[in-house]
């Protein structure tokens, strides 16, 4: 049996199998997409804002379990928050929810959704 526990927490496995925020978001008002140059992973984040607050979020893309789980957790964390507060979400907040010991080589998998969020809130991206 492969020692997955050490690599992927239950949260990551659960979010990889059944992400809650994966899918297109109709009526998105802020969208951005970026690629991890190391592995080619791609994440597109879609947000719907009511002026100040993020009222809905979704993501699509080709990404590994860690990146997918990170995007899913990020979407959950930002929904309901004002944009300024969402911007303050940091890698540490995601890691706290993911409950995983992420190796340095895979930290970019955790942080890619964060940089996509920043681009979306700055009105950049696709």
């Amino acid at each position: 049996m492969i020692a997955t526990r050490a690599l992927y927490s239950d949260v990551i496995r659960e979010r990889w199998r059944r992400p809650r925020f994966r899918g297109e978001l109709p009526g998105a008002t802020a969208v951005a997409e970026d690629v991890n140059p190391l592995c080619g992973d791609r994440v597109r984040l879609m947000l719907r804002l009511d002026g100040v607050r993020i009222v809905a979020a979704g993501f699509v893309g080709d990404s590994c379990a860690i990146c997918t789980a990170s995007a899913d957790v990020l979407a959950e964390l930002v929904v309901g928050r004002p944009a300024a507060e969402a911007r303050a979400v940091a890698a540490g907040d995601l890691l706290a929810v993911l409950q995983a010991d992420i190796r340095p080589t895979r930290m970019r998998c955790v942080t890619l959704p964060l940089s996509v969020l920043a681009q979306a809130l700055n009105g950049g991206g696709a």
């Binding site: 020692a3 080619g40 590994c64 379990a65 860690i66 895979r106």
Partner: protein, 405 residues
């Protein structure tokens, strides 16, 4: 006796335990491991003979020069080059391809064409893109067929009177395809184009003979063939090298210098400015010696058997897709594969938890990934030290993967 029974004891790293398991190193296509003779030759050199080459009239300087130039002679024989002047030592495949793209494209006119292929490594794409932008050249690519081969009919259609350079890989680092170098070069020559072959994935596995390949330039990286990082080989047909203006200047590459002009040195030093990778040349000699002692035919045979075993084993697993030509076609020592429902990075991370090192991602071949319709793949690759039971271990572990994440 199978080859790995002879070689395994020569590779100190194979004694390592990784994540509680004996290391199974299946990433030699990215960079191979090193036998003790290579490691010791380099440390002996630093411990006893190090000095700069070509310019020091003292005992150590002469020893270092002899060792450095000795590597050139060794490589000349290894690849069947006509003369030592045809062997330029660079910093690697990427370095050699950049040198060639710069020098070959410098004299081209806007609208001239460079032809590459859809299965190239980025290091045989980007240097041509840069040159094409600079000189306003047209860059075109020969497509790959559904079975992972170069589309030779398309090659004929793409070759034109304006094609100046055809640059392509000998062996694909993803598909394992062995391209028909002599055939492609013959067609390119008829169109009047210069040919550049990326031999990074071929030199470690195939017996090479430059007089049979029919190309004008051939480049490869010793670190993928049991040698050190930081050194590369660029072979060029003498008349082609003679016709090439150097694009990089510095010490060693000149005969005489005035403030406003200089006279270039003879071949091959004309293309080797600055202090070269001397210890790495010593390691290169030891790597070539090691491979020659085993015999390249035997090396190739061993790796082909491992490749066939991995292809058959992985292709038989439900939910696993293998890429590249069918097993009946002779292939290089790589097997790229995908596991349904799993991202390649997770495949590699899960295998690593079992001590198995494979590469995952786009393999520096993003255009090929686009062609295959995937973000990336996992890839196992093989060398002289790999054993059949390691392939079995890989296949068994991959079979378990889908249930764990």
């Amino acid at each position: 006796m199978r080859l790995h029974e002879i070689t395994r004891g020569d590779f100190p790293v194979l004694g390592r335990v990784v994540n509680g398991h004996p290391l199974v190193y299946l990433d030699s296509a990215a960079s191979s491991q090193k036998p003790r003779t290579v490691i010791e030759a380099m440390s002996q050199y630093y411990a006893r003979s190090h000095a700069n080459v070509h310019r020091s009239i003292h005992t150590l300087g002469e020893e270092a020069t002899e060792l450095y130039e000795g590597a050139r002679d060794r490589v000349q024989r290894f690849i069947g080059a006509q003369s030592r002047e045809e062997v330029v030592l660079t910093r690697g495949t990427t370095d050699g391809l950049n040198l060639l793209a710069d020098a070959l494209c410098a004299g081209l006119a806007p609208g001239d064409e460079v032809l590459i292929t859809e299965m190239e490594h980025h290091s045989n794409i980007i240097p041509w893109q840069l040159a094409a932008r600079r000189q306003r050249l047209a860059l075109r690519a020969v497509p790959v067929t559904g079975s992972g081969l170069l589309d030779l009919d398309a090659l004929d259609r793409l070759l034109s009177a304006r094609t100046r350079v055809v640059a392509f890989t000998h062996v694909s680092n993803v598909l394992g395809t062995i391209n028909p170098v002599a055939e492609v070069c013959a067609r390119a020559r008829r169109a009047g184009a210069v040919t550049v072959v990326d031999g990074a994935q071929a030199a470690p596995h195939l017996a090479l003979d430059m007089s049979l390949l029919g190309c004008d330039f051939y480049v490869f990286s010793p670190h993928k063939m049991l040698g050190p990082t930081g050194i590369g080989v660029l072979w060029g047909r003498r008349e082609r090298l003679e016709a090439l203006e150097p694009t990089r200047g510095g010490g060693e590459m000149i005969k005489e210098v005035w403030l406003d002009r200089a006279q270039w040195n003879d071949l091959p030093w004309r293309f080797e400015p600055g202090t070269p990778p001397i210890a790495e040349a010593v390691g290169l000699t030891a790597a070539v010696e090691y491979l020659e002692k085993l015999g390249m035919d035997r090396v190739g045979e061993h790796e082909r058997a491992l490749t066939r075993q991995a292809l058959a084993g992985l292709a038989a697993l439900p939910g696993v897709r293998v890429f590249g030509p069918p097993a009946s076609v002779s292939r290089g020592a790589v097997v790229a594969f995908a596991v349904e429902g799993l991202h390649p990075h997770d495949v590699a991370a899960l295998l690593d938890a079992e001590g198995i090192a494979v590469r995952a991602g786009h393999h520096c071949a993003m255009p090929l990934m686009h062609r295959l319709g995937v973000v990336g793949t996992a890839r196992a690759s093989f060398s002289v030290f790999n054993a059949p039971d390691e392939i079995d271990h890989l296949v068994r572990t991959v079979a378990d993967l889908r249930s764990v994440l």
